[in-house]
């Protein structure tokens, strides 16, 4: 199970990078929001229906083949290099295909995430769901918390965020693009929310 979780993470990260470059990220997020909405409306569903829904969601995540995505991304990258198409795509693909080291993860654990919230965004810390609430999925505040992250990612907020990050000179354009890949590790988050 542990390795599967890493696999889900990798797959979802790839999907998001791919969709971001293609300009399709918002439609993907709409689908995810739809799935969450289905969950919130299915409180009365029996266990069999819930299990079927979870299986469908898992299959959605695992039917993507990682090497296939890699080759697809490289193919688009080659096409873009030849066509000289789009500065935004160039930044993203260059980092993804030519220099993966440019992707630096800001957090090694959830603890580091909440530590950064405490240091630089304390108001955000007031939204932190209780540990038990996340595990048991019984609290509205944990559900609301996750939906807020989806809201942030969806247009038009991601556009405003990008614009403001562009204005922070120390970050630079690539960082401004990458920071919008602000991802709750969706796969595992979903598994927890759905189970």
């Amino acid at each position: 199970m542990h390795h599967k979780v890493h696999f889900y993470d990798e797959v979802v990260e790839n999907i998001i990078v791919h969709l971001l470059a293609e300009g399709e990220l918002n439609s993907f997020l709409k689908d995810l929001i739809y799935l969450l909405a289905l969950k919130s409306n299915s409180a009365a569903a029996n266990m069999k229906k819930k299990r079927k829904h979870l299986e469908a969601l898992q299959s959605l995540l695992v039917t993507f083949d990682d090497p296939w995505l890699e080759s697809r991304i490289r193919s688009i990258y080659r096409h873009n290099v030849e066509a000289g198409d789009g500065i935004e795509k160039e930044f993203l693909f260059e980092a993804y295909v030519e220099s993966r080291k440019r992707f630096v993860s800001a957090f090694k654990s959830d603890y580091e995430f909440w530590e950064a919230v405490g240091d630089y965004a304390p108001r955000l810390g007031t939204l932190k769901p209780r540990e038990t609430a996340v595990e048991n999925n019984k609290s509205l505040d944990s559900r609301a918390f996750f939906s807020m992250f989806f809201t942030l990612l969806s247009s038009p907020y991601s556009h405003y965020l990008n614009k403001n990050l562009d204005a922070v000179s120390s970050l630079g354009p690539l960082s401004a693009k990458l920071v919008t890949v602000y991802v709750m590790k969706m796969s595992r988050g979903f598994i927890r929310l759905m189970s």
Partner: protein, 45 residues
């Protein structure tokens, strides 16, 4: 791990500097999104 954030490490940027610049912006826009969402819900009611 539920949350992650990536930044450009190709220009010698330090994590601390990145978080110091990015986290307050994320915080601001999250609360703006929440306020807008609530406003829309109230309008709908």
């Amino acid at each position: 791990m539920l949350f992650n954030l990536w930044f450009d490490g190709g220009k010698g940027m330090k994590k601390k500097d990145f978080l110091e610049a990015a986290m307050p912006l994320i915080e601001t826009f999250l609360f703006k999104a929440i306020a807008d969402q609530r406003g829309l819900q109230e309008l709908a009611l």
